[in-house]
Amino acid sequence: MFLKRLLKNKIGLIGVIVIGLNIAVALAAPLLATHDPLTINLEAQAVPPSAQHWFGTDEYGRDIYSRVIYGSRISLYICLLSVVLATVGGVATGAAAGYFGGLVDNVIMRCMDALMSFPAILLAIAILAALGPNLYNVIIALGVVYVPRFARIVRSSVLSLKEKEFVEASRAMGNGNIYIIFRHILPNCTAPLIVQATASLAYAILAESSLGFLGLGAPPPAPSWGNILSDARNFMMENPMMTVFPGVAITLAVLGFNLLGDALRDVLDPRLK
């Protein structure tokens, strides 16, 4: 029903197709790539695009086309896991804050305020500066950065729901707090959560590429799009095309999630139209 409405929405359909293609590329990377993305070929350092190397090679002689293809794996992996982390963290803290109120609420929400007191990318930079650049630290950093957004959504839903009759009734029946939260409250805030998650996916891809560009992302030689761009930058004058391709890949991936996010908002939350 919901899916049908989403697919009827033209924007959503385009978004789903773009994301689907992206996922397909990530899954089929070994089939699509013409070279190993990590193999260094010092005989073919920095060659321009050719029949053998479609996007050219970088300063280590690695095939850029193959790296961009494999890059979709890393970028999707990082952004999916970090958004999952943010959602789980946000739901847990937001639900606890809203449900228990009082001191718990105060402490949690002050922490969230503090997290929100940093521009998102700056907080991620700070966390990575501390933990050191590595694939899982990037996921943790981006996850932590987006926790407050989810926490706020969940908390406000919980606040509006917890005094409702059906919740009171469930409590009267002797059901525990955890049960009530999972059974009655969370299912009622999935719509805004899904919208927020989709938007966060788009941000996460952008943030991941920015971090990689600054040298704070997944450590080299991992072919993340940010890393490829960072390498390309030192090579801009020699092979300008090296800069173009990873950027296009990032834009397409982000575009897909943004289109889907817009469509979801229209479908799930008509008020925001």
Binding site: F118, L122, G247, K273
Partner: protein, 314 residues
């Protein structure tokens, strides 16, 4: 009114305290040793240990924290391990660059977003509205730093219209300074322009549906007047929050933009300090940017009341 402002400021204190704790703790989890980096690659372990002692890095963490907070409160952000220059002096040197960059980016994005957002709302569901939506969604999808690299390649290298390096401050020589800032500001402001434009469009759409606008139209006021006087002011309030949040994002984005365009601002300083493991500088920069961000949000909150008559100062 004054009471309200005071209350808001007091409300900020615990948040700022948490920010300070976070900034302090984050930096101390950094792997690697600043003393080593400082001494260069032919230092002996004894030298390194001596320097760690001299820098106080061997004291217990909580002692370092309270010392640090005490000094920060008196405006002493510490001294760069690397250059021995007081961090606040360096921040004062560089923040004007970042401020001029973000302000120019803000001006650019408002000039682009408000008129186009209003226009799209007025021409709701027409071809130009669709083009607008397409433009904005591209705007939020293109990584700004990548666009910056492409601009550098095209406008600086190929066409030679803009300088590729160096810096002239906009407050020293406005037109020359603008040449150095224009590309960075546009690429930095693009994301914000797209977000604000969509926000303006949707809040305009909401307001245009409201009764008093219809009423104003019925009174025979010109469309321009209706939009300008009634709709825009009311639509602006929700957009303001977005602008506030986005301005903070600009401060974050400036870190990357300054790195792309080699601008001598706070962001580039921060990135270099991270690579050097210069503890006091990283702490100082992040704390400073966070404080500026908190302050901007405070101002936006207060302004929100000014633009939205529904909010009363309690």
């Amino acid at each position: 009114m004054l009471k309200y402002i005071l209350k808001r400021i007091i409300y900020l204190i615990p948040t700022i305290g948490m920010v300070a704790v976070m900034v302090f703790l984050l930096i101390h989890m950094i792997p690697g040793d600043p003393a080593l980096v400082m001494l260069g690659n032919d230092a002996t372990p004894q030298d390194v240990e001596a320097l760690r002692d001299a820098l106080g890095l061997n004291q217990p963490l909580y002692q370092q924290f309270f010392l640090w907070v005490g000094r920060v409160l008196t405006g002493d952000f510490g001294v760069s391990i690397h250059s021995k220059v007081p961090v606040l002096t360096s921040i004062a040197d560089r923040f004007p660059v970042t401020l001029s960059l973000t302000t120019l980016a803000l001006v650019f994005s408002l000039i682009v977003s408000i008129p186009s957002g209003v226009l799209a709302a007025v021409k709701h569901n027409t071809k130009s509205d669709y083009m607008f939506m397409l433009g904005t969604i591209l705007g939020v999808s293109v990584p700004g730093f990548w666009l910056g690299l492409l601009c550098l390649l095209v406008f600086s290298v190929q066409l030679g219209w803009f300088p590729s390096t160096g810096f002239v401050a906009i407050w020293e020589n406005f037109w020359e300074g603008l040449r150095y800032l224009l590309l960075p500001a546009v690429t930095l402001g693009l994301f914000m322009a797209a977000v604000v434009a969509r926000m303006v469009r949707s809040s305009m759409l909401e307001v245009l549906r409201l009764e008093y606008v219809t009423h104003a139209r019925a009174k025979g006021l010109s469309e321009w007047k209706v939009i300008n006087k009634h709709a825009l002011k009311n639509a602006f309030a929700p957009a303001l929050t977005t602008i506030g949040i986005q301005y903070g994002m600009l401060l974050g984005g400036a870190v990357i933009t300054e790195t792309v365009f080699s601008l001598p601002g706070l962001g580039k300083y921060l990135v270099v300090a991270i690579n050097m493991r210069d503890y006091p500088v990283v702490q100082g920069c992040i704390l400073f940017i966070a404080l500026v961000y908190v302050l901007i949000n405070l101002v936006v909150d207060l302004l929100y009341g000014f633009f939205d008559p529904r909010i009363e100062y309690k």
